[in-house]
């Protein structure tokens, strides 16, 4: 019982963190271009040409 008092809130807290991350990703529209994101991860030379890119 003592273990539960600690572990259950801890489990919930971690779950809530995951949920908050999901809601944040949704709000910042990271699910809008899943196909693009899948291939974007393979671009390996962002730093050379995209240095002046700014996300507004």
């Amino acid at each position: 019982m003592n273990a539960l008092v600690l572990l259950v809130p801890l489990a919930l807290l971690l779950g809530l963190l995951g949920l908050a991350g999901f809601l944040w990703a949704l709000r910042t529209r990271q699910y809008e271009d899943l196909d693009g994101a899948a291939s974007r991860i393979l671009f390996d030379d962002d730093e050379t040409r995209h240095t002046k890119e700014r996300n507004t």
Partner: protein, 780 residues
Amino acid sequence: MTALGATTPAPVAQSTPMGSCLHCGTPSAERFCCAGCEAAHALVRGLGLDAFYRRATAAAGALRPDPTPPVPLAPYATAAPDGAWQLDLMLAGLSCGACVWLVEQALAAEPDVVRARAALTTRRLSLAWRGPCERAEDFAQLLARLGFRAVPFSPPCIAAADDAETRAITRALGIAAFGAMNVMLVSVAVWVGTDMGEATRAAMHWLAALIGLPTIAVAGLPFYRKAWASVRARRANMDVAISIAVLATAAMSLSEALRNGPYTWFDGATSLLALLLAGRLLDRTARARAGRSVAELLALQQASVRRLAADGTLHEGPADSLAVGERLLLAAGERLPLDAVVESDSALFDVSALTGESLPQPIARGMPVGAGAVNMGAATVVRVARATRDGSLAAMARMLEAATEARGRFAGIADAASRIYVPAVLFVSLATFALWWLLVGADWREALVPAVAALIITCPCGLAIAVPAVQAVSVGAMFRRGLLVTSATALERIATCDHVVLDKTGTLTEGRPQLLPGAWTDQQLREAAGLAQASRHPLARALAAACPDAPAALSAIELPGRGIIAGEARLGSAAFAGGIAEAGDGTAICYAAPGMAPVRFAFADTLRADAAATIEALRRLGLSVELLSGDQPPAVAAIADALGIADWTAAATPEAKAARVLALQRQGRRVLMVGDGINDAPALALAQAGAAPESGTDLARTTADVVLRRGGLAGLVETIRLARRAQMLARQNIAFSLGYNVLAVPLAIAGLVTPLIAAMVMASSSLAVTLNALRAGRAR
């Protein structure tokens, strides 16, 4: 920088046995399939981006530069607060991750570009730059040379890309999935913890309530809203059943927690929500993809106009910005975007989109022309008669909205099932409660448990997923075949149609002039086609299309309104080229060269190659076929005769077409209307279902339920087949879910159902109907 995008691709001389074009990948004996690809390849290499070719996975030919000149983009740019210009573009041809990389890198290499970010799903490019607004045209040219056509990201595109409801459902799904998994954590402990103490069990119940109640309150909102709207309209649909089941389960679980009963049912309610939301999301994303494709087609056709100022200068801009009385210059082959009056001395307009007449109509000075007519003659000056928003197109669009709304009230098979299902389930549930409370003499709170168990175990889950799952799979399968379904009830409406009404011009026929056989040699055709490549006149383009591999005549000069001249050779009207004038010369051009008699190329709108086979296939599917055209009787009779259609009407106005469709439906026929013109739009909206070919007008495509993007008319047969298959699978799924209920309800009434059994029943029935739905994607 300008010339390359504007010329028709010509074969390249040098030859290496490579097999396919180095740029676009189409099979080609040369290194490049056309001059456009060669230039694009040189540009990519010049920018140091050749890594693109190692990564590109686009379909062969997708990257071939489009010879259509780019539309002016500068008027669409908006100024950001920080002084930069911003522009959102739709990029046709953006089809793989490497394309995204190429576009972003090529634009980032421009010194004044601040931001260039392309999205593959929506084909949207967000661009920001500092400096003059006109730089937009340079960027468009750069993209065109790389093989991507850029057009403004139009309102329909924005509507298709920014779907608030899909985001709301995704958010609800995330919350429901989180809630369901955490409640399950607690519930499993209660299910297996038979030696659990009373106090621990109470704590577990309250913990489940703490997670479950907020989840049910928030994640269920998409269902509660629709259910409430449906209750207010005094109709029962699936959302009502879901809402009642979820809320009743929550209430019963709360009462069980209060009296510390053996089980709470929060797990059932939350996982029910999660499963249903997942089904809804799949259904929506499948249709959203088709919707985006339709919006892209519209955006690509969105024309800009050339305004003729009082001092004779030309200004390009969007059609919405024009006021009444302003003058426009309409080039050959251009579509008139609004109602206007002809100012030039004579003009030749193709009004087939408005009336269905296949022959171009001469229009005298001062006569009105409706929006949607295509200029078939020389460049013409017209004066705006009505602005875009109160012109004939806008009036038609408003009328169609009302007609399409009526179609939205179509009651599908799921609605029909829930109309019986909802009252039946409520009755069973109340009867169970009465049985336990009054007859068995249980406490009312104990009696609540089997009553609600009956509610939840009758599987609104399987039943609610039964139809959306089939829809999602079918719409996805059709999308891959180039059939774009945008409406939620379209498949069901198409499946039950028993009568097809076909338009002639542009639907059964190609809708554009085709070269007829005549007294000319292949060599003459090649030479003439080479000349024709220099012009955008519709007949010249048809001639060029008839001999696509003809080498372009480099010295060709177009004399607007008369013809094309290259050295001694002339191509144009009979008077210009020295040929013999014949009747119906609006659809013929003459070619004259030294040392030969002038030859005459005649054109006509010909039947689509698959028209006859399609009519035959439709008949075999048990549909009766009718031809309804606005064209003159002889032309319609000839087509009807060629296809063996006994039932035909000619010279039908748009009103007459709509009236005919309504009359048929009053007789109890279920009409599938197929048409492409503005004149078909009312009939498309009023029919039980409508389909339009890709080449159709904007209005027809937005009104139709299905846009046949590939496969021509044969796609229509495929659509009906797949829709019927979907309907059959949906029926099977509903029958299966109802059958499951018949087995499960007695258990619930007897009070034998525990949350574990309910969860198993729910999951297994959902899985079964989903697996069955997957069969919808398989061909034949």
